[in-house]
Point group: C2
């Protein structure tokens, strides 16, 4: 429903979920912090100014946006978002968490596979003004955020 991916779209998120590392996706195995039968969580490739290393939750099956997302995936996404938000408070020492999920290009959706951003927030971070000026990170830059978040998820689950 209201899909925008071209017919020959190669989905970088599907490729990453399959565990493939090549030029078709920026996501590396080392970015993945959580995975179950329905959803995967990884550190996003683009860093927002003062909110670096934020995680993204995706359904393992390909659905372009919220309009098409079935209940089993939707329910797991919001349950896991609660777990990740609790873990972010520990791993990223943040003062708050902002959920953002974009549907269609008019909403700044760039990857055409449903994905929910969880941004760590800090007092006075001027996030709304800076969100549109994100920069591409390197896999090495993402490692410490992934390691800390993975450890925090285990701590919350225990």
């Amino acid at each position: 429903m209201y899909n925008h991916a071209p017919d020959d779209y190669i989905c970088p998120i599907c490729i990453a979920i399959e565990g493939i590392e090549d030029d078709r996706t920026m996501i590396r195995k080392s970015d993945i912090v959580y995975q179950d039968d329905l959803v995967t969580v990884f550190i996003g490739s683009f860093f927002v100014a003062d909110n670096p290393g934020h995680p993204i939750i995706v359904p393992n099956k390909h659905y372009e946006n919220l309009y098409d997302l079935p209940d089993p995936e939707a329910h797991q996404i919001i349950s896991v978002s609660r777990l990740i938000a609790q873990a972010l408070k520990i791993s990223h020492s943040c003062d708050g968490v902002t959920i953002r999920q974009n549907n269609e290009p008019a909403s700044s959706q760039h990857a055409f596979h449903y994905h929910m951003h969880l941004f760590p927030r800090y007092d006075g971070d001027d996030f709304d003004k800076k969100i549109s000026t994100s920069r591409k990170s390197t896999a090495e830059e993402r490692l410490p955020y992934a390691d800390k978040l993975r450890a925090a998820i285990k701590r919350v689950q225990s």
Copy 2:
């Protein structure tokens, strides 16, 4: 968990869900477009520049934020958000839908009852720059948005 409401907090969202209209809440019965056993959806009192009349989904029981939201409410919120997003495409003739949900004051959470914003998006609306300059609307201004959204929800459900 990580709560910020003062001990004597009078929750404007709880009051509105109970169907009370008085000076403690800006939400009017005419703002409510959907309600079931677990969640309520109403047109938000604050309008963002070129994205006026956006709906907000809340759990009927009082939980301050995502960290504390139980699964039954969380699951219904994301399922109903899909219904409302589909309806917004009709009622607000929008080009996309942005989900935004703020946890804690550092994330711009002002009302201390979990709430998820669904913003109708339009090509070139400059939303990110204007989101922080929202203005208080009148109940009369919200009426046409509520009426159209209510009708669109019925159309999607049929």
